[in-house]
Symmetry: D2
Subunit: 349 residues, 4 copies
């Protein structure tokens, strides 16, 4: 059994970790911290977990208790992992951080987007970006994982097959993304109220979302050159799910590629990936097909038979976009089958 | 491995069976039938299952193929199991029927509520009502199981502790129940459209719902005397979930019972039940706490300290109210741990 | 034109008042106050109103500016109207209070339920409970109106025809009520988040809701004797709407009444009421049929032909349950046609 | 009073017409036809209208009764208006067609997209495309109006200021559009069920939607040259609303335009338009801000300060995208103030 700690377990990525780990055959959650709710039994805050965590209580963060774990997940606002990761790593504890703290390799870029200095730039060299489909080998050896953001996961999985093979223009990409409201977290904000977000659709943070530099970093690495993308997120009246609609242009020299060849690029790229599903050409993946499941479904369209490709990618933002991917990373780090505890199907309907 | 057939797998109880059986360690779905969709791969109709059923296709009902299974689930409209069950049973195949065909022991009563003659009254003596919390011993020996309806599951689990101990008046019980829209099934009806059922609440079938006689039968058996209940179902704008609000009166001789004693009645009754959770006194269970989970959560209130008790019971109508309970029955019939493949927590949020 | 002030206009009853008054031919909103948002244009906070309030801004509460209005609406948390009403009334300004401050005639009862002393008991003698179907004559003369709560409006309109005629038992009434989330207001609370209240149903405040004494007061007045009721509210995943399911028992001497006679009691009682709609016997009113409309729809059922009647009542909690009723009161106070500005149909779908 | 007929009033555009006309001071609905529901009172099918249409019943289509109206609305599937319009026009009755029958000026193009021959090509010369912001003068004189589709209304209003002034590239435009489920109509289809469309997001008809040629026709007219656009519609879990996210490139010679100049282009273009609202630069319009209202809200973004503009446009698909726009056309045809009966604010929340 892997002894686990969770720092900041009262948000949606925290409770989702608890849900997934509750049925993971190798996981044993020993510690879960929350300053605001220390003392409260987990089962009281999340009655859905009453049958699985009868004894576990939120506790004050305690360095020693956390350091006694094999691995600690951070499900915290940004900045917290900066402050605590070094000591844990020094104690031999692995760290899987679901926040944005270690996602950007450039500390100055991080500081610009998050409006505060980077708190642990000295750890960046050992931080591994935990997108298993790209960095699996590094994850196996990693002590510190930065779990990708939800939008970046969907966008990168949708585009890297094309970028790695240099099939598309690296400038002028458009990512029109739609997210469920759980992406906004469990904090009490007017904009996340039922009556503010139900029965409505809106764009937000147009061109200014903090996932923008993470997306650019990942795509540029895949392309081995700078990638320019316009990223427009939209708030969608559903709890879970991200739908990325990606518009790209084939390079002039690739425009003779057939649809079948394009489809083959994706199928080949992901043929051994347990958590990516390439659907048949011109499919329209629904976010509900991955609700609660650790999978990204992709499909390709070429609406006018021209150089414009449309890639559709769906994930559950709390699973493949956060906590499921975190567990997938843990599995890889501990030499387990990568899908251990992650094999359930989407909750449809 | 248990070889399984499913008759009528294109509705919501069918796809839910497939979802649950996909990760059940002892289940092997060999055959799934659908007249209307014969030939279609299951994964095409339900992309959520693409990763789990790569080969399985819907097929025309074939008596031989079904009879070769160890157990056949019926996820069909009423009347179908009447027609097919006898041959399967004769061939030694167990039958677990999720429809209403064998729920009522009185064939004439069935005919009255369903508007057609009972198609297999000769099988009624061997039909076992599959509510494990009441009939577990019979289920172990059964060849033919009638899986309880969704409303009857919630109402019975909420009331039998009180009725078995003869603590409440057996007349004048009120069951005000709220169901998600999936209870109306996957058939194309105007009333089940998103735009007809979202952002609205209504009662329906007041005093006339077909689950009424099933509820009365079950409660009367528990009470060992005729029970009279008013059952008012409501359509609620959510996909899954039943919330039963049950109003009962303590008998005059029990009105001195303390709240703690009443709570103890429930805790004692269900203390060994893996799929019933008695919450603390005055809890308010949310349906989302059981979304996707095979559990019924209960809580007790005594709002004015008088003889009136309010029992709250929540289930997921497709899991503990249908397919999960069907699998629970299967587990019992085959001597497996009753919760095998049913241990996941509710999907919250 | 009637010059109007609104105190506390940033909540849902405030914006709903603005929506209704925007097309009211006699209304002129001069002042709208909000401490927290003083200076913000109304159209910036509520873009739905951009076309109607191009100049109006939230302002600091200013006694003089408010006193210069013909009528001031309070759309505030409880306690605020207590503090401000006396001065306005002294200045000759009429007050229509949408909060709970003047709903209970018994100041001690108010203090008990609201956990603080009543702030203006001296005004209670002149406060008129603004349910036009009951107190129309008093409203015509009133200077201070207490607009009924949402639940009390639905429950009272559903029961008073029976109580006034002394047809039903006055004890043991059950009101199982379901409310949309807007009833919880626009303040940032975790429980009102989309991801906490969508796709779920729960009871809350069982037997302890602050509308309980208001309901009891109104029903007892109608019955001319003390009425005992159990009131269980439920949170429903929709924005607007209240559905009251009311269970009552005919008195023994009335049990021979026919269904047609019972229906006639309601039709007769409300035959001249512009804002109450008695639907045909055994109808099932949907909350969406009154979405955005100032109407209460009622229907009667007698499920077992016995002494048990089920009354169904639906309103939009923000309209007939709050701001629409407030405007209806204003119309009456100023001698306008009672439905002025309130004639629109429900937004269906 | 204008005497009105409605052909095909049982769908969502039909009931929305009834809702709007119920409070229109000059409208008098004399006839409403439905083959399937002839004889049914309108108020029985749509209880939201009980207070407004106490006598009106659906009737069999009757040429004479319709011809006796001043104006007939068609709220029918395509093909119906083709068959009936000529006779009505000959009788002197004006026709406002909400279907697609007369939207495309090219009958062959129509036949290609709708899979059947155009049924009334001889009427095309007199058919006026009823987008008042573009064709107001023609509407004043028109006898036959083709009410624009919902997506085309949002996309055209978002782009014509730029195309008319030749500021943007006319090829490579992307329209990523999100629609509520009511756009799919009130017919009983599995895909429109609550349990199929709630809590999910998907693209559909990528590059193949029937609104594509209508959009292209309108934009090309505005640009006075052929326009090439990729249009990807998405099904969004809400009842009403369209959100168009439009990506366009400034022409090289316009790239020095400032943001203020771009904003001014829109404000100038729509400064006298009662049903278009240009929001401040970088606003994010929400569909709920126009729920139930006959208005299109627009906002502009230039996310990277480059040549890429993002235009956001929201409408209520049933109002400005269908029935409200139809009434707006009627108002213009009869010389009324264009906003008569259309002045209500959006239903928020």
């Amino acid at each position: 059994m892997i002894n686990l700690g969770i720092v900041g377990g009262t948000g949606y990525t925290g409770v989702e970790l608890l849900r997934l780990l509750a049925v993971h055959p190798e996981a044993n959650v020993k510690v879960i911290t929350s300053r605001s709710d220390a003392g409260t039994p987990v089962a009281d805050m999340f009655p859905s977990l009453r049958d699985h965590y009868k004894e576990l209580r939120f506790s004050e963060p305690d360095a020693e208790a956390l350091a006694a774990c094999d691995l600690v997940f951070f499900a915290t606002p940004h900045g917290v992992a900066h402050a605590l990761a070094a000591d844990l790593l020094a104690a031999g504890t692995r760290v899987v951080d679901l926040s944005a703290d270690f996602r950007l390799q450039d500390a100055a870029e991080w500081a610009k987007w998050y409006g505060q200095p980077h708190g642990a730039p000295e750890l960046l060299p050992q931080a591994v970006y935990g997108l298993p489909e790209v960095t699996r080998e590094k994850i196996q050896q990693a002590r510190l994982i930065a779990v990708p953001g939800c939008y970046p996961t969907a966008v990168q999985l949708g585009l890297i097959p094309l970028l790695e093979k240099k099939l598309i223009a690296t400038q002028g990409i458009i990512a029109d993304c739609k997210s469920g409201v759980s992406g906004a977290g469990r904090s009490a904000k007017v904009g996340s109220l039922f009556c503010e977000s139900a029965e409505s659709m809106k764009a937000y943070s147009v061109g200014k979302h903090r996932h923008h530099p993470e997306i650019t970093q990942g795509l540029s690495l895949a392309a081995a050159e700078p990638v320019g993308i316009t990223f427009v997120p939209h708030l969608t009246p559903m709890i879970r799910g991200i739908h990325a609609t990606l518009y790209v242009h084939l390079k002039p020299e690739q425009q003779q590629m057939s649809n079948a060849e394009l489809q083959a690029v994706f199928e080949e790229r992901y043929k051994d990936e347990p958590c990516v599903d390439v659907m048949p050409w011109e499919s329209c993946p629904e976010t509900r097909s991955v609700k609660g499941a650790n999978i990204c479904r992709l499909a390709l369209h070429r609406p006018h038979g021209s150089d414009l490709l449309v890639v559709l990618a769906v994930i559950d933002n709390l699973v493949k976009g956060a906590s499921g991917q975190a567990v997938q990373n843990m599995n890889i780090m501990f030499g387990l089958d990568e899908s251990t505890g992650l094999k359930f199907a989407g909750l449809l309907p």
